[in-house]
C-alpha cells in the first residue's frame, strides 16, 4: 500500500471510530450511536490494542517472545493511579509510565539478550510473577488485593473527560498518535532492520546491524507501549487491583497478537478486538470462554499461523486472482 493510501485509510477509520458513540439521527442518518457500555468496551479495545501493538513490535517484528506485557500495563496503571491521586497531572504520569517501562525494558532485556533466543521469554516470565507479587504484597502503596479505587479521569486542556464519550475520544486520539508513531518506526530503516533480524539474525549482524541493540530497542519500545496503555487503563476502569496484571493476562497478550496476525500492522487491532469482544459474545458460556479461546488458538496455529489478518490477505489475494 502506498504511503498516501495508508494515511488516507487511517484517517477514514479514525473518523468512523470517532462517530461510533454519536447519535446520528439528528443529522438524518438512522444510527443511534453506541450506549455507555458499548463506548466503554470500545475504549477498552483501544487501550488493549496499544499494549498489543507493543507486543507485536517485540514478537512480530523483532522475533522475540515477551511474557510480561500485562505486568508493564500494570506498572503504568499503578504509577498513574498513585501519582495522579497525589495531584500530579495526567500528562506527566502518562509520560512517566512510558519512560519507566522503557527503562525497565532495557534493564531486563540487556542481560537476557546476551544469552540466547528464548531467555527473554524466561526473564519476562519471572519479571511478570515478581511484579504481581509486589502489586499484591506492597499494600502501603498498591492497596494489595483491595486495589486502588476512585481513580479520577483527567481533563484535557481544561476540558474535563469525566463523560465516557469524551474520554473515549481522548483515548482514540492518543491511540491514533501512537499508531502513527509505530507505523513510522516500522517503515523507517529501523523497521527494515527489525525485519532483517527476525528473518536472519546471522546475516543481519554481518551487514553491520547490531542485532542485540535493535532487539533491545524493540523490546523496550514495545514494553513502553504496554506502560502507556496501562496509564490509560487506570482512569478508564477507575479501579485497579493486581488480577488483570498477572501472568495469565500476559500470556493472553501473546495469544491475541498471534491470533490477529503477528508481524502485520493491523494484527494487534484485530487480535485485541477478539480478546475484548469474545468474552462479551460468549457471555452465556462465561465459564468455558478461556477453554474455547485456547482451542481456537491451537487450531489457528495449526492451520493459519498467519492469524486472522494473514488469512484475510490470503483470501483477498485468491479472490483477486480468480
Amino acid at each position: 500500500m502506498s504511503t498516501r493510501a495508508a494515511l488516507l485509510l487511517g484517517l477514514v477509520l479514525l473518523v468512523l471510530l470517532a462517530l461510533a458513540p454519536v447519535d446520528l439521527n439528528e443529522v438524518g442518518v438512522p444510527y443511534p450511536g453506541l450506549r455507555r457500555y458499548g463506548t466503554y468496551i470500545l475504549t477498552l479495545w483501544l487501550v488493549t490494542a496499544i499494549a498489543a501493538m507493543g507486543v507485536n513490535l517485540i514478537v512480530g517484528y523483532a522475533g522475540q517472545e515477551t511474557l510480561a506485557q500485562a505486568a508493564f500495563v500494570g506498572i503504568g496503571a499503578y504509577l498513574t493511579a498513585i501519582v495522579t491521586k497525589a495531584g500530579v497531572p495526567f500528562g506527566v504520569a502518562f509520560a512517566a509510565s512510558g519512560l519507566l517501562t522503557f527503562t525497565i525494558g532495557i534493564a531486563l532485556g540487556f542481560p537476557a539478550l546476551r544469552v540466547q533466543k528464548h531467555y527473554l521469554a524466561f526473564v519476562t516470565l519471572a519479571f511478570s510473577v515478581l511484579c504481581w507479587l509486589v502489586f499484591r504484597n506492597e499494600q502501603w502503596i498498591t492497596g494489595g488485593v483491595m486495589g486502588i479505587r476512585d481513580i479520577e479521569r483527567p481533563s484535557f486542556l481544561g476540558w474535563p473527560l469525566r463523560n465516557h464519550i469524551r474520554f473515549y475520544w481522548f483515548v482514540l486520539g492518543i491511540t491514533a498518535i501512537m499508531t502513527f508513531v509505530l507505523w513510522w518506526i516500522v517503515r523507517s530503516p529501523w523497521g527494515r532492520a527489525f525485519t532483517a533480524l527476525r528473518e536472519n539474525p546471522l546475516r543481519a549482524e554481518s551487514l553491520g546491524i547490531d542485532v542485540r541493540l535493535y532487539t533491545l530497542l524493540a523490546f523496550a519500545l514495545g514494553s513502553a507501549y504496554g506502560g502507556m496503555a496501562g496509564s490509560l487503563y487506570a482512569p478508564l476502569v477507575e479501579f485497579i487491583d493486581p488480577s488483570p496484571f498477572a501472568l495469565g493476562p500476559s500470556l493472553l497478550f501473546m495469544l491475541m497478537v498471534v491470533i490477529g496476525g503477528s508481524g502485520t500492522f493491523l494484527g494487534p487491532f484485530v487480535g485485541a478486538g477478539v480478546a475484548v469482544l469474545l468474552p462479551e459474545w460468549l457471555r452465556a458460556w462465561e465459564t468455558y470462554y478461556l477453554l474455547i479461546y485456547a482451542v481456537l488458538v491451537m487450531v489457528m496455529m495449526a492451520f493459519f499461523p498467519g492469524g486472522i489478518v494473514g488469512l484475510a490477505a490470503r483470501l483477498l489475494a485468491r479472490k483477486a486472482r480468480s
Partner: protein, 247 residues
Amino acid sequence: MTALLEVRDIEKSFGGVQAVCGVSFDVHEGEILGVIGPNGSGKSTLFNCILGQLVPDRGTVRVNGRNVTALRPSRLNRLGVSRTFQLLQVFPELTVRENLVLAGQEHRGSRLARLFGARDAGMGAEADRMLDFFRLKRLEDEKAGSLSYGQQKLLDAAMAFMSGSRLVLLDEPAGGVNLTMLADLRERLEAINRETGVTFVVIEHNMEFVMALCSRLIVLAEGRIIAEGAPAEVRRDPAVIEAYLGH
C-alpha cells in the same frame, strides 16, 4: 607496507578436534586472495574466526593494523569488512532495492537519523549504482525471494559492497551458480576490484573460477597452510596435488 588484513597464528578446535592449527597470512590492498583446500581442511572455520563468528582459541586478526580479534560481526562490518555466506543469504521478504539499502544503512548517519530521516537512509544513490553495476536494475522492486538462484547470488554479492567496505570476504561465491551466470559474476567482481581497488578474500571449491579470479592462492590442508603463491605455481605444487588426490 602494512597489510590490510593480517592473520597471525589462528588456532581453533572443537571438542578435541583441531580444525585450524596456527594459520598466518597477510592480505594486501587491492589483492584478490583465494583460499582453497579439500573438504574439512578448515577453510570455513578460519573464515569464521577472522570474521568474529567464532572466537579463536589463539591468535590475532588485524585490519589496517587494528586488533579486531573476536570483535562482534556487526562491529567488524562497521570497520569496513564485509562478507557473504556459503549458503544464499538474502532477505526473501524484502525487495531487491530494500536488501541493498539494508546492507548499507548502518554505515551512514546516526541511529536516530535512521529513525527520523528518509526511508532509504540516504542509500538511494548508492543502491542505484549497485543495481546498475550488477545489472539488477529491472528487478529492483521484486521480492528477493522471487529471483532466480543466480540473480540472488549476484544480489548477495552486491550487498557486500553497499557498505563501502575495503575488504570483502566471499564464502564460495560460485557454489550452485550456472556457467553463464558464473562468467558474469567473475567479470563483475574483477571489474569492481579494478575500478575501486576493493580487496577480496575468496573461499572456493570451483578450481577454474578461483584460478581465473585470484592473483594469489593459499592452500589449506588439515588446518595448516601447505602452499602459497600464484595460481600457476600452486597448481604444479606436489604438496597440493598430494593433498587433493592423496589418502
